[in-house]
């Protein structure tokens, strides 16, 4: 029997992985909108818990929106590798003759496409409810789109580390939320700057720099974390 030479075919593998994950998520249409609805619900809870006073709400709106988006992203991360782990396909992913960082990066990409991006698009809508000034909507959406990509990448490290654990969900928050803080600060800062009429460009540039760094380092960390989890 012929020995198989390792093919490259990375593009095929990446494209198929993206397609597979997209199909899986879209097949249960309800699940794609879950983070969105969670986002909306949390934003609705705050006026109820705090006060319906619009001036107060407008003041805290950038922070609220960003924290709620962050929590929504992070909640949806828990299942990023979990179901693959449970049915054994994660094992098979690790045994594929392809660079693991590239494969996990495509999984994270799908996660961002179906979570971070829709959140960014929807945020201005909720901004209206919190009486956020209209000038800041573009910055709000842009900062969320940029920031949530970093959130997905960093969160995936935590998800990979906890994938084999029985009650990973809350542990994941503990691992990941501290690492989210810079993104939260710059993201909310960008919106606040826009509200005050200042330029949001420096904040957005910083968000971009963070994203670039996450893109460079996170795939390797995720791959290493997955190998550890599978070994356990």
């Amino acid at each position: 029997m012929q020995v198989v030479e390792p093919r490259t075919g990375l593009a095929v593998a990446v494209r198929a992985t993206i397609k597979r994950d997209l199909t899986l998520m879209l097949r249960r249409r309800g699940e794609v909108i879950n983070p969105l609805v969670f986002f909306a619900l949390v934003i609705t809870l705050f006026p109820l818990g705090i006060s319906p006073d619009t001036a107060l709400l407008a003041e805290i709106a950038p922070g609220l929106l960003w924290v709620a988006a962050l929590l929504a992203t992070q909640l949806s991360l828990d299942v990023l590798f979990r179901s693959d782990f449970d049915d054994g396909s994660l094992e098979q992913l690790l045994l594929a003759p392809q660079p693991l960082p590239a494969l996990v990066l495509s999984k994270v990409l799908v996660h961002w496409l179906l979570t971070g991006l829709p959140l960014a698009v929807m945020a201005p809508l909720l901004g209206i409810m919190l009486a956020l000034p209209v000038e800041s909507y573009a910055v709000l959406a842009l900062s969320l789109a940029l920031g949530s990509a970093s959130l997905s990448l960093i969160g995936a490290i935590g998800a990979a580390l906890t994938v084999g654990l029985a009650r990973g969900g809350v542990l994941l928050s503990l691992l990941v939320l501290p690492l989210y803080i810079p993104i939260l600060i710059f993201g909310a800062g960008a919106v606040q700057a826009a509200v005050l009429g200042a330029s949001a460009a420096p904040h957005l540039a910083l968000l971009g720099a963070l994203l670039a760094m996450a893109l460079m380092l996170a795939p390797w960390a995720i791959a290493a974390a997955l190998r550890i989890s599978i070994n356990g």
Binding site: T162, G164, G168, L171, L174, L175, I181, I185, L210, A224
Partner: protein, 250 residues
Amino acid sequence: MWAFIHKLGSPKWFYAISARLTPWFWAAAAVLLVVGSVWGLAFAPSDYQQGNSFRIIYVHVPAAILAQSCFAALAVAGGIYLIWKIKLADMAAAVIAPFGAAMTFVALFSGAVWGVPTWGTWWVWDARLTSMLIQLFLYFGVIALRGAFASRDSGAKAASVLALVGVVNIPIIKYSVEWWNTLHQPATFTLTERPAMPADMWLPLLVMVLGFYCFFIALTLTRTRSEILRRESAKRWVRDLADGHAGGRR
């Protein structure tokens, strides 16, 4: 060089060499801490602004510095363990993490308590305070992650990865938090600017810092030795060692 690293990584060799070092560090820690405490509590002059509440500095600053060093040590140990697979590094990391968390807590607690007489409040969202709090959470994460794995090796590796990721992030967190605080409201409280402390104020502080470091080293050595006994309990030399120990019967 390589031979040396691997020799250092051998638990047996380390156990033997550390047996000689540990007592000295304990002794130095005891002397320095006692001298520093008496000096700081009773002899250092009181601050002209803060009065005697200033004496909290002698536990606050050493604990804060040590807490940060511990995280760096944790990351270094994690890196060594992941790259060279030296188990000893992980044993040290397992021991350092809880102590680092404890020191972070001491720094937070003493700082919070100090805040009442000086700032009139237990807590403000100052940059330094906030990043210290986040560091405490990072410590919790490392400890919880290690404990969550059934297999010790997997827990060790996972904790190492997290420590490395965390140490990349700490400077970013620090920087962003500082930026954030000045951004929102420029003039909040700053930690008391150093009013060119007189020597008899900062000398005891130096003694205390050194004492805390010696304590840290002594404790880490001692507990790493215990960890070696625990993990290598099946090895011949550990068995023999237990027999030779005081109280053992032949």
